[in-house]
């Protein structure tokens, strides 16, 4: 199967070349009757793409602008983006858009974007993922850690006794810091005048 596909590819490449050289599709098909069906489909597809050429291919000026904005990369680099590699016969609008976006993003931006994603991810994990220690609010708004749940009945009882104590202490706080407004007001009225200054 693979060898057959390979042969079709080779035939297709030669057929495309002949078409470029000025041969008609019929002439090209006659050369390979054994692959006539597959070749005919491929050539039809090629024809469609050729007719829609302007839609798919960017203008020269735009290509120049994009290329100038790109940082120079080492062409000997092994790691080339798959979008830069010419896909065999397959081409899509989405791929083209991704290709253009990818080309615009410099290495610096890629690193920054990755860092942002990592930080946001960690933040979300810390906020929602991690189990935060439980606490209650005690006197003077102090945080009092609750005991770690365990199967130990004694520890559970200790926690319950602690609950009772804290509750009791909190309710004792009520009105402890109440200011004597009434006494202050009486004092204030008493300073409305000084009879010695008449």
């Amino acid at each position: 199967m693979n060898s057959k596909n390979q042969k079709i590819e080779e035939i297709f490449e030669q057929a495309v070349k002949l078409l470029r050289d000025g041969k008609t599709p019929k002439q090209v098909l006659d050369l390979w009757p054994e692959a006539e069906t597959e070749l005919e489909d491929l050539l039809k597809l090629t024809n469609i793409l050729k007719e829609q050429k302007e839609f798919f291919e960017p203008k020269q000026e735009l290509l120049k602008t994009i290329l100038n904005q790109l940082e120079k990369i080492d062409v000997a680099e092994k790691e080339l983006s798959p979008y830069l590699i010419k896909n065999k016969g397959r081409f899509s609008i989405i791929n083209n858009l991704l290709n253009q976006i990818h080309n615009l993003m410099t290495l610096r931006w890629k690193i920054a974007f990755s860092l942002i994603v990592i930080v946001v991810g960690l933040g979300l994990y810390y906020q929602f993922g991690l189990e935060k220690p439980q606490y209650v609010i005690g006197l003077d708004n102090q945080k009092i850690l609750l005991s770690e749940p365990s199967a130990d009945v004694n520890k559970m009882a200790e926690a319950l006794n602690q609950e009772a104590s804290i509750e009791q202490s909190l309710t004792a706080e009520e009105n402890a810091l109440l200011i004597d407004i009434d006494s202050s007001m009486m004092s204030d009225f008493g300073q409305s005048y000084d009879e010695n200054e008449l």
Binding site: E167, Q168, L170, M185, S192, Y193
Partner: protein, 255 residues
């Protein structure tokens, strides 16, 4: 040489005496009241009285109008503090409940068979009921405390208002009397003296009333003690129930 020294001594003595006389003169002059200026002041007292009246009355009126505002702010503060405490208590209780449920889950997981599970569930039920009972008692104690406190404070405020009104009445009455006396042509010095005495008496009375009114702490103390007593009982009852339930559970589970 000796002649020069004695000359110096004499000159120094003269300077010293003259300076001393001058200083004494100044002190004497300052110490003396100027009968002319005091008399003028008293003579003009009735002319100055409307101004004095207006000034004092304005101050008293301002404080009076501010009185209710201060009272309202005070009650609002109390209400806010109470709401804050209610919210904190509710939030704490929710967290305690969650923590307790997590404990029970772990204890339940340890149960080997259905019988043990039933024992744990029964313990859970007993604890839940004890906590509910304790919380109800605590909430009721708080409610009663707040009610008693509000009544006591309101009653005290009424008394304070009464004393302040008495002071205002006495002060204004004294000022009006002074004006009447001026209109009737009484001796300014007498009017001035009377007014001074009456205003002083009004202030002293107010101060005395302030001392005599029950201190706020003394007002709250018995109420607080009652509340704390009830809470202490509730906590003790809870702890006893918990201990009993815990011992039973441990015995049945063989812990």
């Amino acid at each position: 040489m000796m002649k020069m020294n004695s000359k110096k001594i004499i000159i120094s003595l003269i300077v010293f005496v003259v300076a001393g006389l001058l200083i004494s003169g100044v002190i004497w002059a300052k110490g003396q009241t100027n009968p002319t200026s005091t008399q003028a002041q008293l003579k003009n007292f009735c002319e100055r009285l409307p101004q004095i009246l207006s000034k004092i009355d304005q101050r008293l009126t301002e404080k009076q109008s501010r009185l209710q505002e201060i009272r309202n702010e005070h009650w609002q503060n109390i209400a806010e503090q109470r709401n804050e405490r209610n919210e904190r208590l509710a939030e704490n209780r929710q967290r305690w409940d969650e923590n307790r449920a997590a404990h029970f889950e772990k204890i339940l997981d340890k149960a080997k068979d259905d019988e043990q599970k039933q024992t744990v569930l029964a313990f859970h039920q007993a604890v839940a009921e004890a906590i509910s009972q304790r919380r109800q008692t605590v909430d009721q104690a708080i409610r009663e405390f707040r009610q008693d406190f509000d009544e006591a404070l309101a009653s005290r405020q009424l008394l304070v208002d009464q004393k302040i009104n008495e002071f205002l009445e006495a002060s204004r009455s004294a000022l009006e009397q002074a004006q009447t006396d001026c209109n009737n042509g009484l001796e300014p010095r007498t009017i001035w003296q009377n007014l001074r005495d009456e205003l002083k008496a009004a202030r002293q009375k107010l101060n005395q009333d302030r001392q005599e009114i029950t201190k706020l702490n003394d007002l709250i103390k018995p109420l607080t003690e009652t509340k704390q007593g009830k809470m202490h009982q509730a906590v003790e009852a809870f702890q006893t129930t918990l201990q009993t339930a815990k011992d039973e559970l441990k015995e049945l589970l063989g812990l």
